[in-house]
Point group: C2
Chain length 340, copies 2
C-alpha cells in the first residue's frame, strides 16, 4: 500500500504539499496540484484514517444511539429510513457508524463503547421514551450531539424532527373536509417524547377549528406496531356508533386496523376513511393504498448527521432545532363521508 511519502516522491514535492492538495487548501499552484493528483491516481493512494485521526484527534466514528431493542428497531421501517439517512451522510464524510441499540443488559452492547471517552467524535441519539436516554452522559463528556426527536431532559440540545403538529393537523383537516364528524385517533405510546403530544395537539386544533372536539371514547393508544393497530379496532370499530374516519399516528398501526376492518366486513374508503402517518413504502402496496402524512425520514437522518458534522468540524456551540416539513399524500383510503 502506498503512503504519502510514495506520492510525494513520485510527484516530486514534499508530503506537506501532498497533504495540502488532498485537503483542498488554496495556495497550491495548479501545476503542482495536477502532478500530485496524477501521482495519487497512479499509486491508487488513499490516506490512512488512523494517521489522519492521530494528528487531527478524531476517530472518524460517530455513535448512533437508539434506545430500542433490536427486535423493535428492525421492524420499524420509519426508523430504519432514518438510519439510512445517517449512513448516507456518514459515508459522504468518510465516517463510520457505531450503532448502539442501548441494550444495557447485553454485555456485547456497543452502548458501553459509545460512552467510552475518546471512542467517538460525536453522536446522534434517537429520542423516544421519556428519560431513557444516554444523551446526558454524552453531553457530560462534552461530546457533540444531535438528537432526532424532541428535547428529552434538562440539557439544551441540537435536534431534528418532523413537523408533527402540522402533519396531524393536515391529516384530520383532510378528514373533516371530506365531511367526517366522527373521527377516531390511534395514538402512539403516551410516554413517547414530544411527537405524540404534538400530533395530538395538531389533531385537536383541526377539530376545534371545525367546531368539533375529540371524543375520548374515540382516542386509543397503540405502540406503533401493526398488531396494536389491529387491537385498536375494539374501541374504534366494534362499537355501536363508531367513527367514520380514523387518524392513525403511524402507517403500521393503520395497516393493522385495515386488516381488522376487512375481517369485520367494512370496506375502505366507503365505510371508513383512514389516514396514516410516515408514508412507509408499504403504504402504496396495500389495497386501498393508504392516504398518509409523508415525513421525510431519510432526510431527518441526513440533516441530523450534517448538523453533527458541523458541530464536529467547525466546533459550533449553538443549539438549534430543525423542523422538517411534512406533506399530506391523498390516496385511496379516504373518501367523502358516505351519507348512507
Amino acid at each position: 500500500m502506498a503512503n504519502i511519502y510514495d506520492v510525494a516522491r513520485l510527484a516530486n514535492v514534499s508530503t506537506a504539499t501532498v497533504s495540502k492538495v488532498l485537503s483542498n487548501t488554496p495556495y497550491v499552484s495548479v501545476q503542482t496540484k495536477e502532478r500530485v493528483l496524477e501521482a495519487v491516481r497512479q499509486l491508487d493512494y488513499s490516506p490512512s484514517l488512523a494517521a489522519r485521526g492521530l494528528t487531527n484527534r478524531r476517530t472518524y466514528i460517530l455513535g448512533l444511539v437508539i434506545p430500542n431493542d433490536p427486535d423493535y428497531l428492525f421492524t420499524d421501517p420509519q426508523l430504519l429510513e432514518v438510519i439510512r439517512g445517517v449512513e448516507n451522510t456518514a459515508n459522504d464524510n468518510d465516517y463510520n457508524i457505531l450503532l448502539s441499540m442501548a441494550n444495557k443488559t447485553d454485555h456485547h452492547s456497543a452502548y458501553t463503547r459509545v460512552l467510552r471517552t475518546g471512542y467517538i467524535d460525536g453522536a446522534i441519539t434517537v429520542e423516544t421514551f421519556e428519560g431513557e436516554t444516554p444523551g446526558k452522559l454524552l453531553d457530560d463528556q462534552g461530546l457533540p450531539r444531535v438528537s432526532i426527536g424532541y428535547r428529552n431532559g434538562l440539557n439544551p440540545i441540537n435536534s431534528v424532527h418532523s413537523d408533527d403538529y402540522r402533519g396531524a393537523y393536515e391529516a384530520v383537516k383532510h378528514l373533516i373536509e371530506l365531511g367526517h364528524r366522527q373521527i377516531g385517533v390511534i395514538s402512539g405510546p403516551a410516554n413517547f417524547v414530544g411527537a405524540i403530544e404534538e400530533r395530538l395537539r395538531g389533531a385537536q386544533t383541526a377539530l376545534l377549528e371545525a367546531g368539533l372536539e375529540l371524543n375520548p371514547d374515540f382516542l386509543t393508544y397503540g405502540d406503533f406496531t401493526t398488531e396494536s393497530g389491529y387491537q385498536a379496532s375494539r374501541r374504534l370499530l366494534e362499537v355501536a356508533d363508531r367513527p367514520t374516519a380514523i387518524f392513525s399516528m403511524n402507517d403500521r398501526m393503520a395497516t393493522g386496523l385495515m386488516r381488522r376492518a376487512r375481517e369485520l366486513g367494512l370496506k375502505l374508503p366507503d365505510d371508513l376513511s383512514l389516514v396514516g402517518f410516515d408514508d412507509i413504502s408499504l403504504a402504496t402496496l396495500i389495497d386501498p393504498p393508504l392516504t398518509t402524512i409523508r415525513q421525510p425520514s431519510v432526510e431527518q437522518g441526513r440533516v441530523a448527521a450534517t448538523k453533527l458534522f458541523e458541530l464536529i468540524k467547525e466546533g459550533k456551540k449553538d443549539f438549534e432545532t430543525i423542523i422538517l416539513p411534512v406533506e399530506l399524500i391523498v390516496r385511496g383510503s379516504t373518501a367523502r363521508l358516505n351519507p348512507a
Copy 2:
C-alpha cells in the same frame, strides 16, 4: 483525555510497560502490573485506537457486505440475526462494522469504501445470489474474508453456513412420520447460492427413503418474502388434489401461506401441516405456533466473525468450511395426517 504517558508517569514506569500490561504480555511483575492497572483506573484511560492502529497497521474496521438492497435486508429477520451475531463479536474485539449493502447504484454507498485499499482489516460477505459478490474483489486485495453461505465463485474461501441439507431432511422426514404422503415444497429463489440446492436435496432424500418422490406440481418457488408464500398457495392449496403437508424453506413464506390457508378455510394443523425453516421469533407468536427448523442465526454471525478475527490476528491462511447444526422444533402447525 489521558494518554499512555500520563499513565506511565502516574505508575512510575515506562510507556512500554504500560503497553505490555494492557496487551497482557507475560513477563511483567505482579506489582508493576497492579500499579499500572490502578493508574489506568484512576485516569479512566482508554487507548487511542488510531495510535494503536497506526502502529499495528490495522484499521479496526471490518466490512460486512450484504448484496441485498436495504428494503429487503431490513425485512429479513434471519439475516438481521446474523448481523447481530457479527456485531456482538466485533464489539467484543473492539472492532467497528462498516455495513455495506452493495448498492452499486447509490453513490453514498459504503460499497466503495469497503473496497478501498486499506480501509478495512477484513470482511464478512453474505453470499446469496450467484455471481453477485464483491468477494472476488476483496480476495484480489488479499484481504481476510469469511463468507456466510456457500462458495460462490472460483476462489477457495472460509465459510460458515447451517446444515441446510440436514434441516430440510429432518423437516420432511417429520412430515412423513406423521403419515403425510402428499408433500409440497415452497422453495427459495433458484439462483440463491447453495442453500436452496441443499435444502431441496435434503427434502428429496427424505422422500426417497420413504419410497416417495417430489411431485413437480407440488414444488413452487418464492423469494423468501411473506407475500411470496401467500402467492404459493395458488399451486399448493387451490388445486384439486392438494398436498396435505408443506415444507416451506423459510418461516416468512410459511406465514404467508398460513394466511392464505386461513382465508381458504383450511385449519392448521388438522387440514394442513406446515413446517418452516429458520425459527424466527414470529414463529412462536402466530396461531398455531410454527413447527420449524431452527438454524442458529446469531451464532452464524458470531462464528464467522470469530473466524475472521483468527485470520486477521493470527494470519491464518487455511480455508475452512464450518457447518452449524440445525434442529427440528415441533410446535402446533404439524399433526398426524387426518384420515378424513
